[in-house]
């Protein structure tokens, strides 16, 4: 089970209303390489991996949900005071027509989230390689978002998230090595 913590993993400071930036950040909210995809992918893979790597998948999945909340906070703060005209100028007229000021799991171009973004292969090495790729793609997306951001508070939080992708990628790489070592030991004895 999960227990809600009434705090963010890391503070999200937004300087001004900026729906355009919110739209870009939606790529990491409901996009193919985003946090929702990451959280759901790892949470679902954890049932069928060897015991030694369950913790990594469980704990990274849990952290991804806290990243998702940080992104939601960014999008919410960047759009909550936006007029319909400002939403339209930011390319969010379609979003506004469908969702108003609500958030939705979609990418920067309004394509709704789909589980076809994620896989569970039932093969731990195949799954972990997908996870490493997912972290690297997310890291790259955060870099592009940092390049697009002109809000210093937001950039700070995006940098934190980019660094977390690096750490997660490293932990998944170590998990692959742990499984390979175990496999090789079984061959010897």
């Amino acid at each position: 089970m999960w227990v809600y913590e009434k705090k963010l993993l890391y503070p999200v400071e937004v300087t001004t209303c900026n729906p355009k930036l919110a739209r870009y950040i939606m790529e990491q909210y409901g996009g193919a390489d985003g946090e929702l995809a990451a959280a759901l992918r790892y949470m679902n893979q954890r049932y069928t991996v060897p015991d030694k790597v369950i913790g990594v998948l469980n704990d990274i999945a849990t952290e991804e949900f806290s990243h998702l909340e940080m992104l939601a906070t960014m999008i919410y703060k960047l759009t909550k005071d936006a007029t319909p005209q400002q939403m339209e100028e930011a390319g969010l007229a379609g979003h506004f027509a469908n969702h108003g000021h609500a958030l939705f799991y979609e990418n920067a171009n309004g394509v709704p989230f789909t589980t076809t973004y994620i896989q569970a292969k039932g093969d731990p090495i195949a799954d972990l390689y997908e996870d490493i790729a997912a972290e690297e793609k997310a890291r790259a997306t955060y870099q592009w978002l940092i390049d697009l951001s002109d809000d210093p508070g937001l950039t700070d939080a995006l940098r934190f998230l980019r660094e977390r992708e690096n750490v997660h990628s490293l932990r998944f790489r170590e998990s692959v090595e742990i499984l390979k070592d175990e496999r090789d030991r079984k061959k010897i004895f």
Partner: protein, 88 residues
Amino acid sequence: MNEFEEERLMMQRVQEADFVVVELTLYTNTHPNDEEALDQWREAIKEAARLRRQYENRYGPLSLYSIPSEQAIEVGWRWNQPPWPWQR
């Protein structure tokens, strides 16, 4: 420092301490024999619990696993009360 800034500072300390636990938990997941890291991890959990207690005594529980302090009850703390994290 006013009341608002004080609360933010204490919240930040909780966030920092909790983050150390998150990071060391992930590290020790893949380095189960690193005794130094395991020591740091246990210490980090203690420190995070200490700072959380300090915060919660004053401002009320951050989760429903903490017992509301008398001080928090006196000032009218309720779980279903803003600000939620995205409203801060």
